[in-house]
Symmetry: C2
Subunit: 345 residues, 2 copies
């Protein structure tokens, strides 16, 4: 059954949803004629404003919590939005918590579960360095989204996760650059202590080089040294600038996140290099921004919408007791745009 | 007194803060030698890991809530980070809530105040269309950050706000373009129902044109028609494409948000225009991204760090009873970068 939504009403009226909301909520700041027109359309369409119902429910609503490391990362912004939409459909409320990079998200989760309304937790970003013992103390179901592979000492029966195979996808991207003729491929790599997706992406790069008989040069592995905001354009810019100034020879840069790659492209431009004519640049993630920069960024797209939807739906299936813990792996997609080119000899 | 932080320890050890955190928290996934080195530095430096203290506190911590419309806007990501840092210094916890564009943030706040621990609320983004009566029902102090001017029927004694003078600053940017010789200045403008900062920025544009005897051309006022994600690159791209296809003559585009401007630059590039040689583009906000795109974006910088700090500090001053409601206006700064140029006759 297709239900009429506030968006449909807005579309029919040719106004924004916020304007419809103002009409419904008797806000003082709306043109009376516009309001009348909207209320007429609402009556005709059979749309039932569910504000009152929703508000009544909210007081004792069940809730889920989303704990996120790296809130500035556009990749997560997109996931949060989708998770929230799905949560609302289930009439749950969602609590969003930002976790500092040095904080332990499971410790924070252990505090949150003291709230009676909490029914489930989603962890986004960060490291998977939690002991099984600690995870068992969490008395509500939880799902790790895009956190990377866990250490081997944790039973796969104790958690769920939804992710791409970061090692495999990263290897794919590195091999793509190799097939374009590049051998001196610099990598904007994770900080030395990274045990999560960063480590896997670096490992994929390393395996691709080895497979094609290319030695890994220390000088081309440029590690992020400021982890306050790991995957930032600023880090990408700064590390690339250092790489250029080091005098190391390279013809391509592979950044383990699109935001780093965008910083790298700007640093190359400032140093007088053309992308991709002089240097190819490839990223990872497939964030929207990569399609707006000049040149458009070649990237490894994670299917963020599908992953976010599956993360929240899986959580609800576990909450309802319909399912045990799952480990869902999505395929990434290499998207060739304008920032990479065949190496001219 | 300067206190030693976890960041100082990380710096001295040459590792990331997350690695220091793993050492302190006895995580299994850390190299034993690294861990010993970190623990040695901690002992020498006199740094006291306050994790245990903080966790004990969290269970009965007082909290503040941040309600945000437009979580994908990078401008707000930055504000949230700063607000959270200041909140932690006060040993409060912070709850972040995303508000859909059609939801009423004061309704949501009225639900949140039922939680006993909540001591104050910050509203970021959205419209200021709340009745005084409704605001009075909020039994905790609150501050509006960057929400724009309230309607005149609300007493200034009933709320606090921290913002720039959007009308004045927008007028400044438009006059800057006029002084470069531009007369046919298109504006990427707010949706017709916008009563907040968007409306003020459009009004500033209009006043500048009038002051310089330039008639406002309807065809150059391109309104956002998709308010689901108002200030998005996608909207900037789409609206600019429509503007180009309309055949209207223009030599400059003023976008009321940087994200819109970045979408506009990409649309111009795709249509074969050079920025700024053929078309000048100016934005508003001063987000970090504007410094990474090619060409760098001319913008009206809001002092986001100072505004965020003042917003949270003001809230704490009101909570502590030291102050009544305040209305703080920050000056914006016009930053001339590479995307605008004098009009060649």
């Amino acid at each position: 059954m297709s239900e009429i939504t506030i968006k449909d009403v807005a579309k029919r009226c040719g106004v924004g949803v916020s304007t419809v909301s103002r009409a419904i909520n008797n806000h003082p700041d709306i043109n009376p004629a516009t309001k009348q027109m909207i209320m007429d359309v609402i009556q005709e369409s059979g749309y039932i404003p569910n504000n009152s119902a929703r508000n009544l429910k909210r007081a004792d609503a069940k809730s889920i919590a989303v704990l996120i490391k790296g809130i500035a990362n556009p990749f997560f912004s997109k996931m949060i939005k989708i998770i929230e939409e799905e949560t609302q459909k289930k009439h749950y409320s969602m609590e969003l918590r930002h976790v500092e990079s040095y904080e332990d998200e499971v410790d924070i989760a252990l505090e949150l579960v003291k709230e009676k309304r909490l029914r489930g937790i989603i962890f986004l970003g960060g490291y998977f360095s939690h002991s099984e013992e600690k995870l068992e103390k969490l008395e509500v179901p939880f799902v790790f989204g895009t956190v990377g592979a866990p250490p081997e000492n944790i039973s796969r029966a104790s958690y769920s996760d939804v992710a791409v195979d970061d090692l495999k996808e990263s290897k794919k991207m590195t091999e793509y650059l190799i097939q374009l003729g590049h051998k001196d491929i610099a990598i904007l790599a994770p900080e030395p202590g990274d045990l999560s997706i960063g480590k896997l992406r670096l490992e994929g790069y390393s395996q691709a080089l080895t497979k094609h008989g290319i030695g890994m040069k220390e000088g081309l592995v440029r590690k992020i040294d400021d982890v306050a905001d790991t995957y930032s354009m600023e880090n990408g810019y700064r590390i690339t600038k250092q790489l250029i100034e080091s005098g190391e020879h390279f013809t391509a840069i592979y950044a383990i996140a699109d935001s780093l790659a965008i910083g790298a492209m700007r640093a190359l431009k400032d140093a007088g290099f053309r992308v991709p004519e002089d240097i190819s640049v490839a990223g990872y993630d497939g964030i929207e921004l990569g399609d707006y920069v000049v040149p458009r960024l070649t990237t490894l797209r994670q299917p963020v919408e599908e992953m976010a939807k599956e993360t929240i739906k899986l959580l609800f299936r576990i909450i309802s007791g319909k399912e045990r813990h799952q480990h869902i792996v999505y395929a990434g997609e290499l998207i060739e745009k304008e920032s990479t080119a065949r190496l001219e000899k």
